[in-house]
Symmetry: C2
DNA sequence: GTCTATAACTGGATAGAC
DNA sequence: GTCTATCCAGTTATAGAC
């Protein structure tokens, strides 16, 4: 095996552990997740995880950071999507509820609500707070209001409610069928419409 | 102190511990809650809790049972409330979101989503499943549909979505202001309307 | 009745064998 | 590289002092 191939194999293992950890953390939160669960999910021994990550906390923090970046870009891109503001928000909703991103959003939720969350992560969360998320959506929502697609009222308040509803569903989504709520997007968006 | 008074004092202490435990369990779930936290919340030593409840599990189970009964009666009574079906569902929503019951609903949620939940409790949950809850609301919803107050569509599906939204909000409610969502009931009920 | 001390156990993290 | 054995800290539950 050449040096390059070795590095590749190491990286792959790291990603494997990260995938496993994301899956478990998203469902169980940081204290509900045991290193043995992550190891089992990744198909390795418990001790080996520590050759790739120095602690459970480090692993958790890294994943939250990636999740925040992922969520951030999804939201930043919304303005570039085709269609009316209504269609743009609908696309964002769908994106959030779909399997892949769901785990990231859940992880962020876990980080937000647990108090075992490391201080380092708390600081990250403050940086990318949901206030900023909403701030980015406001121009689109206001445009939709002017076009008569959305209901009247304080954009910040309405978007906060809407995003809370979505993440509330995601939390529970884990225990119902995959992507179940995606079929309910039209009903959910009635919160935003006239 | 007479015998009667002693019994009363004992009962009071039991209730004190139960109140404390409900508060902590609702926020942190069964494994996130340490007996020391409950004891601190109740203002007693950790060891003393075990003079009143034989285990953490027993305490948790008892509380879930009471929560289920509480939720059950709240729902069973809805038909007797004054007003149209719309007003009845609105009253139920408000009731669910208000502080007192919120803790009970949160506890049930914790019991539902955690897998450290004792088998005994899992069985209880199956008995009072949310399917039955919805079943009880269907007649009212159908009546509202006939009166033109609610949107068309499968009552079971719509009510399931609605209740999921409400409990999703409750889970997060703990971390925002008390009773914040109560002010948003009208927006939420747009999910049910035409 | 209530507290403090402690036994038994669980889980995070390290060390050493292969 | 990976696993098994082990250390140490924190938790449940009990026992014994006041």
């Amino acid at each position: 095996m050449t040096l390059k191939e070795q590095d590749y194999a190491q990286d792959e293992r790291r990603e494997e552990i990260k995938r496993a950890a994301l899956k478990v953390f998203a469902r169980k939160g940081i204290s509900g997740t045991k290193m043995s669960m992550i190891a089992a999910e990744a198909g390795i021994s418990q001790g080996l995880s520590y050759r790739y990550f120095s602690s459970k906390e480090e692993l958790f923090s890294l994943l939250v950071q990636e999740a925040l970046e992922e969520a951030q870009t999804a939201i930043a891109n919304i303005g570039n999507l085709p269609g009316t503001p209504f269609e743009q928000l609908k696309a964002l909703t769908k994106n959030m509820l779909e399997e892949n991103h769901k785990q990231y959003f859940l992880l962020i939720q876990q980080a937000h609500t647990s108090d075992e969350t490391p201080v380092k992560v708390k600081q990250l969360l403050d940086q990318f707070s949901s206030k900023d998320t909403i701030e980015q959506l406001i121009p689109i929502f206001v445009k939709g209001q002017e076009m008569g697609e959305f209901c009247e009222g304080d954009p910040h308040r309405i978007l906060f409610l809407y995003l809370s509803v979505i993440s509330g569903l995601m939390i529970q989504d884990v225990y119902t069928d995959e992507n179940y709520w995606v079929n309910e997007i039209d009903s959910l968006m009635k919160i935003l419409s006239k």
